[in-house]
Amino acid sequence: MAPVSTERDLRLDLFRGLALWLIFLDHIPSNAVSWITIRNYGFSDATEIFVFISGYTAAFVYGRAMDQHGFVVSSARVLKRCWQIYIAHVFLFAIYLAEIAYVAHSFDNPLYTEEMGMLDFLKEPDITILQALLLKFKPVNMDVLPLYIVLLAWFPPVLWLLRRAPSTALIASATFYSLTWWFDWNIPAWPRGTWLFNPFAWQMLFVFGAWCALGGAQRLSRWLNSPVVVTLAAFYLAFAFFIAMSWYFPRLAVFVPKIVSDIIYPIDKTNLDVLRILHFLSLAVITVWFVPRDWPALKSRVFWPAIVCGQHSLETFCLGVFLSFAGHFMFTEISNQIPMQIAVSLAGIAIMVAAAELVSWYRRVERRGPGPRPPAPTPSYAGGA
């Protein structure tokens, strides 16, 4: 089955760009500005948005490649993308090592003898670096790219099946998700534990995104526009909002019946809890309801900064991780007052936008470059998948 629509849906770029901003804000520890991010008001967070849209665009881009060049060539492109992401991850790890080696050498405080034990792994850099290269050792906030690498690595066969038998592929993905929950499957991490984002569980959202891109969204449109579904989604968001408020206002907790708290807790991020999926889907339903595909404002300058970030997601994501390290460093070295936090957050987003625009410009120049390459007929999802 071929992709149904060929024109890019700017909503995807917009919301992926916004998700990248939110991930950046959430990744700066103790950042007051992260108070605005969606994770504080419900069960899901920007990761769900990012993974879903990445699945959607991956299917869109590589599905078209599969049409034009066949399975082998498009698979090779997917794996090349995997390799790029791996390199980006290792690059970020190097920056991380530099940061913590600095802290290990310069910081001593009797209050934190326990916490400083965290730096013990610097005593055996041989093992640590090797485990990082194997994607088993993943520092804080560096879990998304390894997840993405695994999701893309097995995407060629998934895409092949999705194009032949979309429903079968979706059911297979959901079955795999259920089996993962049943048997506690996950990939081991180092020094112990498992991956923070379990790829066996998170694949479902990625495959669901891909399924939507390959015509699933159109099949769902009757449901998406139904007032009943929209009402249910709104109620679920309100419920999640109330529960989230009870985390910050313990006095509200007395209004949460024990049976409800017994059912919902713990809300498992590692294995993509059903509550989180439902929360993301509800957000998506409400968003699609209010933001139609041909909404004129999508082409306005107001949304351009987020859209350009969403169009160059890998570059923007990596830069965001680096900027969140840098931002935290400024909090501890210079000041962690609220104006500083706001300034660092805004500056970070501005840098992400500027870098994305630079990449965009560079791609345009390259396309025009010396070779006889014809310009692409429609703007592609540059860096899309």
Binding site: P29, W35, P110, N141, G193, P266, Q337
Partner: protein, 255 residues
């Protein structure tokens, strides 16, 4: 930040007694201490004028050096409780060893509980689990088990979460473990002493400099002193709720 908003909104609800003896710097964060759940065993112990407390914790429940024990929050808790509860024989025992996960503490918890028979267990945990990326389910289960063991031994439980440590924040992923502790506390209806947010407030307001590199104990001792005082305040307030004969405090009436 969100906690700070919570604190702001909760401020008028808190008609807690002025802790005259506590240093003013501690009180900066007093509104962060919210006790949503009563402590009936503590209330009974107060009626009997004898309160035994057991503190179980890891490395952040103690300070290094020869005076570390006296300066650490368990000893300060005893001091504060003695001042807050005149006429009550207060004794705080500790079972504190660095680098222990919640599950490791659960294994060791039964013995001191049966020996001391405390009315209250103060259980500090979460940091080591986060450092070792202990499986989240296992962490939640260990908390469940520990709370159940303490309850069946006739002790109320107060959970104490990780410290706020600005320098290592980007290296230790505390937030998941802090969330789990919050959820388990809500499920079991036990108070959570939110040490993380309290210390974060002190750091944000400049009450204590938590980023400074030093090998002196002074700030660390002041921080622990305040934690002892605020814990004592939480115990005192929650125990009031647990006293059924106390008509002045209506449970569930917002305070």
């Amino acid at each position: 930040m969100k906690k700070r908003l919570a604190a702001l909104l909760a401020w008028p609800l808190l008609a807690g007694p002025a802790m005259a003896a506590a240093p003013a710097e501690c009180l900066v964060a007093q509104q962060q201490v919210e006790q949503a759940f009563p402590l009936p065993h503590v209330a009974a112990a107060l009626t009997a004028k004898k309160l035994d407390v057991l503190v179980v914790g890891a490395g952040s429940s103690v300070l290094p050096g020869p005076n570390g024990g006296k300066a650490a929050y368990p000893a300060r808790l005893q001091k504060a409780l003695e001042e807050l509860l005149p006429g009550v024989a207060v004794k705080v025992a500790t079972d504190v060893n660095p680098r222990r996960t919640a599950a490791e503490m659960v294994k060791a918890i039964a013995k001191p509980l049966s020996e001391i028979r405390p009315a209250m267990l103060v259980w500090q945990t979460g940091t080591v689990d986060a450092m070792q990326s202990v499986d989240q389910d296992q962490f939640a289960q260990a908390l469940d088990q520990g709370i159940n063991i303490a309850h069946s031994a006739g002790a109320d439980v107060v959970l104490v979460n990780a410290q706020y440590s600005p320098r290592t924040e980007s290296m230790i992923a505390l937030s998941t473990y802090i969330d789990i502790m919050r959820w388990v506390a809500l499920q079991h209806e036990v108070p959570l002493f939110d040490r993380f947010e309290i210390m974060k407030l002190w750091a944000d307001l400049g009450t204590f400099d938590l980023t400074g590199a030093t090998n002196k104990l002074d700030i660390a001792a002041r921080v622990h002193n305040c934690i002892g005082w605020l814990l004592a305040d939480l115990v005192n307030e929650a125990a009031k709720q647990g006293r059924p004969q106390n008509e002045a405090v209506k449970p569930g009436a917002g305070n």
